[in-house]
Amino acid sequence: MTTSGLLHSDTTRTVLITGATGFIGSALTRRLLERGDRVIALSRDPARARRRLGAAPVIVGSLREIAATEEIDAVVNLAGAPVLGHRRWSKRRRHELATSRIGLTRELVAWLAGRAQRPEVLTSASAIAWYGARKIDEGGEAALDETSPVGGDFRAALCNAWEREAASATMLGIRVCRLRMGVVLGTEGKLLKGVLPLYRLGLGSKLGSGRQWLSWIHIDDAVELILRSLTDPLFSGAINATAPLPVRQAEFAATLARAVHRPVLLRLPEAALELALGEMSNLLLDSQRVLPRRAKEIGFVFRYHDLETALHDLLTPPRVNRGAHRGTPRGATVRLLDNLLT
């Protein structure tokens, strides 16, 4: 069994990323650059991408800007309009979600088909929404893995069509890995960014019954899965990107509240959430207990198995740099505090 993170190529790789300015994309870009890989970031807004990603990656506004002679070893497809942030999924919104994911992936695969040199792998993001949404009392207790069937709602349909588009790249001789992302936890991610201020004010709450399952993954493990998929041929087909131990929402609330040293006093009834958030409330009330069966089968070791460890890592302030401010009164105070606290 290999250990997470050790199966890397020894040579510098060139990786094309779509959606590089997003939460996962920017974390992935940083890791690739730290490893010495070369990153080409495709972005609709190159100026914004430059501000967000810095000077190191090559940033292009369209695939046409990439020279035919550019050798690309791997492609990571993360782009798509955000699912969160809209109260109601109107026809227009559904269409936008569909075209931003399916249309772009199709364009990407068509571009790869036209190239003489093709990458070894296409890792394309999907989501655990593929399995369909269900309420806890309507099948929401069922454990879902890669052998489970596709769901029947709009988000499942979107993910299925998205994955089908990415999978068409296998006809080009490209290995395709479809990572079904759970709720990715990171301080820059939408979930923690959205709820942390509330929890710090003691306003963390149980949502509905609190029994609905939340399938999460630490951002570092999500990035590590992507990195591993770029070099490990066993990473092929659909793979759930979720931590081994999903939790119920009530446990999530309690664990997060403990992590910020606050109580959970509130409970928001289902009806209130539906009134306030409309269709978006389904994202908070639906239950998905998704297990990473395939990832474990092919030897991926999660660094963050359980939520408590994951949140502790994300919410603990970084250790003080012992080298900073050396020789100054401030530096001496910092070193003293650091020694006392560790």
Binding site: K91, A157, M171
Partner: protein, 187 residues
């Protein structure tokens, strides 16, 4: 596959659906979400009433060789169709009609206007004609119904469409014709 899991046109047409050529079946056989791309020519009626109605319903302007994308989102009983002609899109919602003795689809536009469309066969495809019209659920008299000549055919791997809509008294409203390639056909 149960009846409710079948694509809309398959449910409406029954065994006749299986006789359709592949590109037509693929364009109307969507179970989740499908994007098909192609090209299209559009002519628009010039009478003031035709222009007013076209504006109310958001019909695209006239043009030649326009890039065209048709997005179909299947949602159980109904389908959401988005037709984008050169950057101008129009949504309609298609649903099965209540029990009929022949295949009928209900197409809903904006402003609460719906049309009952009888679906028939033609060589290499299907055709549609208006057999009813309602505004906010209220049936409208026949003289208000538009005249529709719609054919959808297979041409090699392409889904070719020719949709000619005229106002009840004969003035041209919109005529769009072109093709898209369903993804399965393109593979």
């Amino acid at each position: 596959m149960t009846l409710s899991q079948q694509p809309l046109f398959r449910r409406a047409m029954g065994r006749l659906f299986h006789l359709l050529p592949e590109p037509v079946k693929q364009q109307h056989g969507v179970l989740d979400i499908q994007l098909s791309s192609g090209r299209c020519d559009i002519d628009r009626g010039t009478a003031w009433n035709a222009r007013l109605i076209a504006w109310l319903f958001g019909f695209p302007p006239a043009g030649r060789d326009l890039p065209t994308t048709v997005t179909v989102i299947s949602e159980g009983r109904r389908e959401i169709w988005h037709r984008d002609f050169g950057g101008r899109g129009i949504f309609t919602v298609l649903e099965p009609a209540a029990q009929r003795d022949r295949p009928v689809i209900v197409e809903r536009f904006g402003w609460g206007v719906t049309f009952d469309l009888a679906v028939g066969e033609v060589e290499d495809g299907l055709c549609m004609s208006v057999i009813g019209m309602r505004a906010c659920g209220v049936p409208l008299p026949r003289w208000l119904w538009p005249s529709l000549k719609a054919t959808e055919r297979a041409e090699h791997q392409r889904f070719r469409f020719d949709i000619d809509i005229r106002l009840g008294w004969g003035d041209a409203l919109i005529h769009y014709r072109g093709w898209v390639t369903p993804p399965a056909a393109a593979a």
